[in-house]
């Protein structure tokens, strides 16, 4: 006699367990948060050099984190990146995989990793990983007062993944990212959570917690911890190498900055360019100097109104400074104090330096009220103060000022043919127009021009233009102003009133604008002599795995900041900014976009910019130029299913059960035990847990079979995933014995 015990599939969502959708979303975000360690080999032992957090952003093992945590910067050697997963959320993470950097932007301090293998060196097939991951949210909607959840690991991997919530306390403007460079949080977050994620209430990733160790990681101390016996003296002391841990973090990089990196990583894109001349690493100590306060920033990224004091009610304030001999990854910080008390929301860092070797930088705030008082700004490198400046805020606005300094080529009618920061070399005249206020006649004022750092002109006059109005000065050379970087300084007495930098490069086009690059061409191959080869033109065949964009250049000064960017169907997918190091004139400079696999079908554009000014954009299509719909996008409309198979009588988990979900069109009588009829499947573990291999699209009825030796096979034809169903879902499957 056979006794049948009824079997059922009971769907128990997190909500049914009394947890809110918000909690479930944040649990999913915690599951997707990994701990990262950089290690290197020393005398056969693995030594930890850097640690941090990261967030899984795809089921195939893409991880978003800070670049300084995974690149070979400072004390980090970039040899081996170990990924630790939160296998149990209430336990420390477990080392599981190794990963490699596939996209990185040091300037933004963002990187995307790909899990590439097991700890034993075995290769991992990304498509089979099926890891928990988060989706990206819209960081453009964030602002002061919004609640954000921060998730990461608060120490060196010895505790479980931690979530904490804070309000956004403000925004910080910085040259690294412009007006939305940083979201700020107060109070600070634990330093080792750097690289982790900032999430909205729905568990969507909206930012990357960003902070660097304040020190250079060479000497042990409170921000560099010795945790291994590297010198093998049997003791862990300060004589052993230390692992840098961040100081308190108050900066979050909006996730929107990571979109091009993620797009490129998802498509497995890489970029490259002609190598140019080797730029030797700076040997002199880095310096920060010429600290200036401004009330605003011009479109060219220059101070629009230099000030030494500001009236009550000031909301915008920026510190500009020049820098030289800077190295990527160097910890930098701007600390703001008033009466000796630090005000973290007005400062920034410590962060890892991502700018060039030399140039001008700015940090500041907009729409944040500065209380009346005297403020001291201190710039620190590797934890050491290297430059200071002070400003007082309060009282009425009556300080003499020059503002809105604009440089351009005059049109003869009091205006400009073109203005900005970049002009053609050999231009005969550059004018600088500015507004002035609160000035007094008969006082000395000085106009100084520099070319490539050397003073080339100084004119001292008596001010005779009245209290307020408009004025202009000019640089004139009837044989043409030579190629190079120019700086203008205007002083009243000894006080710097306005300053501006321009670059003269390239030839003049019909609009009197600078044209550095010419003759753009795109090919899918290259010769050994760096000539375009293969298919050359604007249409490439399917299967093309590399696009080379060639261009000639003329009158391009070394050291000029330039950028190239690749777009696919209008979306930025890869790009790089750097200083020019190929000499003044040449042909067939190239940049490339490539992949290990054929590039996706679509419309590609390559764009060149010099000092953020577009030089040219060139289009090429691969295949028909129409991109197929991404399978990943389709998957995002589906619900991830996990659960437990249990014995109906004992409640014990059943291991080794096969859970098979049939194609949506099929019901149980249609099933002929052919695996191609199975849409998604899983085998339960020793606790009875399982995760289906593919998420199930919403709004469908499914048929589920569950097989396990010793139990009655379950056939359930009405397993429904409703349109409003949140993801993921946990289900319980009860099986009965015969």
């Amino acid at each position: 006699m056979l006794l049948l015990i009824s079997s059922s599939i009971a769907q128990s969502t997190k909500a049914q367990e009394g947890q809110s959708d918000e909690d479930a979303s944040l649990i999913a975000a915690r599951q997707a948060t990994v701990f990262l360690m950089q290690t290197y080999e020393q005398s056969g032992a693995q030594v930890i050099s850097c640690v941090g957090s990261g967030t899984l952003i795809s089921s195939t093992g893409l991880i978003l984190t800070n670049a300084h945590l995974v690149e070979a910067l400072g004390p980090c050697r970039g040899e081996r990146i170990i990924v630790q997963l939160p296998v149990r959320l209430d336990e420390p993470p477990i080392p599981t995989y190794i990963a490699s950097v596939i996209q990185s932007d040091i300037r933004l301090d963002l990187a995307v990793l790909q899990i590439s293998g097991g700890l034993d060196g075995s290769l991992v097939e990304a498509q089979t990983l099926d890891l928990p991951y988060v989706t990206l949210g819209d960081s453009s909607q964030l602002g002061p007062g919004k609640m954000i959840h921060y998730i990461g690991y608060p120490d060196i991997g010895t505790t479980s993944v931690t979530a904490t919530e804070r309000l956004i306390s403000g925004m910080t403007v910085e040259k690294s990212g412009g007006r939305m460079a940083w979201l700020r949080t107060h109070p600070a977050i634990e330093g080792s959570m750097g690289g982790g994620g900032a999430f909205d209430a729905k568990g969507r990733l909206v930012g990357i917690i960003t902070g660097a160790s304040p020190t250079d990681g060479k000497l042990p101390g409170s921000y560099c911890m010795s945790i291994q016996d590297n010198n093998r003296d049997g003791l862990i002391t300060e004589r052993d190498a230390c692992v840098p841990v961040g100081g308190p973090i108050t900066a979050v990089r909006p996730a929107s900055f990571a979109l091009p990196l993620i797009e490129a990583a998802g498509n497995n894109f890489r970029i490259d360019r002609a190598s140019g001349f080797q730029d030797t690493a700076p040997t002199a100590a880095p310096v920060l100097y010429r600290l200036l306060f401004s009330q605003g920033i011009s479109d060219a990224g220059l101070p629009s109104r230099l000030v030494t004091s500001l009236p009550s009610g000031t909301t915008n304030l920026f510190l500009f400074f020049d820098y030289d001999n800077m190295r990527p990854g160097t910890p930098y910080e701007m600390r703001v104090t008033s009466n000796g008390i630090e005000i973290p929301e007005f400062g920034l860092g410590p962060l890892a330096w991502g700018g060039d070797r030399r140039g001008t930088w700015y940090i500041g705030t907009e729409e944040a009220l500065w209380p009346d008082g005297s403020y001291d700004f201190t710039l620190l490198l590797s934890g050491q103060a290297v430059a200071t400046a002070s400003i007082s805020i309060g009282g009425a606005a009556n300080e003499p000022a020059f503002s809105n300094l604009t440089l351009g080529i005059p049109n003869g009618l009091g205006g400009f043919l073109t203005s900005g920061m970049l002009f053609p070399a050999e231009t005969k005249q550059i004018d600088a127009q500015f507004s002035f206020s609160n000035m007094s006649d008969d006082k000395d004022w000085t106009e100084i021009w520099y070319l490539d750092g050397q003073e080339v002109s100084r004119t001292v006059r008596l001010w005779d233009k009245g209290s307020s109005g408009q004025a202009s000065v000019s640089a004139v050379n009837y044989e043409g102003l030579p190629m190079g970087t120019y700086r203008l300084e205007l002083l009243s007495g000894q006080q710097l009133m306005a300053t501006g930098d321009i670059i003269l490069a390239g030839t003049s086009n019909a609009q009197s604008e600078s044209a550095v690059f010419s003759n753009p061409r795109i090919a899918n191959d290259i010769t050994r002599d760096n000539e375009p080869s293969g298919v050359i033109g604007s249409a490439m065949p399917l299967g093309t795995s590399t696009l080379y964009a060639f261009t000639d250049w003329d009158l391009m000064p070394n050291g000029t900041h330039w950028t190239y960017r690749w777009f696919l169907d209008g979306r930025l997918v890869a790009g790089s900014s750097q200083n020019w190091n190929n000499g003044g004139v040449g042909q067939n400079f190239w940049v490339s976009l490539f992949s290990d696999q054929p590039l996706p079908e679509g419309s590609y554009d390559v764009e060149f910019l010099v000092e953020n000014r577009p030089m040219f954009s060139h289009n090429v299509t691969i295949g028909s130029g129409t991109r197929p719909v991404s399978g990943e996008i389709q998957e995002s409309e589906a619900v991830e299913i996990s659960g437990t198979v249990i014995d109906a009588l004992t409640g014990q988990g059943i291991s080794g059960a096969l859970i098979a979900v049939l194609d949506v069109k099929l019901e149980s009588p249609d099933f002929v035990y052919d695996e191609k009829q199975i849409y998604s499947q899983a085998i339960s573990d020793q606790e009875g847990h399982f995760v289906l291999s593919r998420a199930l699209p919403r709004g469908q009825y499914y048929t589920v079979f569950v097989f396990a030796d010793g139990y009655i096979t379950i056939k359930e034809d009405n397993f429904v995933i409703r349109r409003a169903q949140t993801s993921p879902v946990d289900i319980i499957i009860e099986m009965g014995r015969p």
């Binding site: 006699m1 599951q31 997963l85 296998v87 477990i94 599981t96 075995s122 290769l123 991992v124 089979t128 990983l129 099926d130 890891l131 928990p132 291991s655 080794g656 059960a657 096969l658 098979a660 035990y673 052919d674 695996e675 191609k676 199975i678 085998i683 339960s684 573990d685 020793q686 606790e687 847990h689 399982f690 995760v691 079979f705 097989f707 396990a708 030796d709 010793g710 096979t713």
Partner: protein, 204 residues
Amino acid sequence: MSQDLWGTDSDLPEIGSGLTKNDRFSAILVALLTVAALGLGLITKQRSSTDTWPYESREAGISINYPTGWLTDERGDYVVRMRDPKARPFKTQYIITIVPMGGQTSTRNVLDGLTLQRSADLSAYRVLNVQEMTVSGVKSTKMSFAFVDADPNPFIQRLPVAVMGIDFLILDENRAIIVTFMSDKQMFEENLPTFERFMSSLRY
């Protein structure tokens, strides 16, 4: 102490005395029904392990009978894979693969190719032995192997399973037919007779 807790034989009530005719009949009936149920169970089990479904691949030119209720899969780089969905913890499976032969390809070349591929795909893959043999008058090569089956999902606590397997390689003119059997090591000997019946039903 344990005797005090658990009692002794002398504590058991005496049975066998004072039983009525009905009691004895009931006892005999229960015993008979139990034997009958066990017999029915054994027959059912025997039938379930001997019942087969036919499989035919016209493209590969083979036919074979496989156990009822097993899943078939033709989407891999094999002709067919049959899996027992109920087997635990490892799904017992048979795989039939066709490999072209010709030129100077030897049986050993084919087996080496299998070994190289499996070494890359399977954890701790080891070839245990290779031997020539004759099955039903047909010369074939038998390769025994073992590997560890582990779930790649780190969030699943499935213990790695030691799996044993056999490949039978049969030369058929300009092709080799490889019939593979893989089973949880604990169940290998128990599952082997069913596989041998499967093998004996192969037609090509």
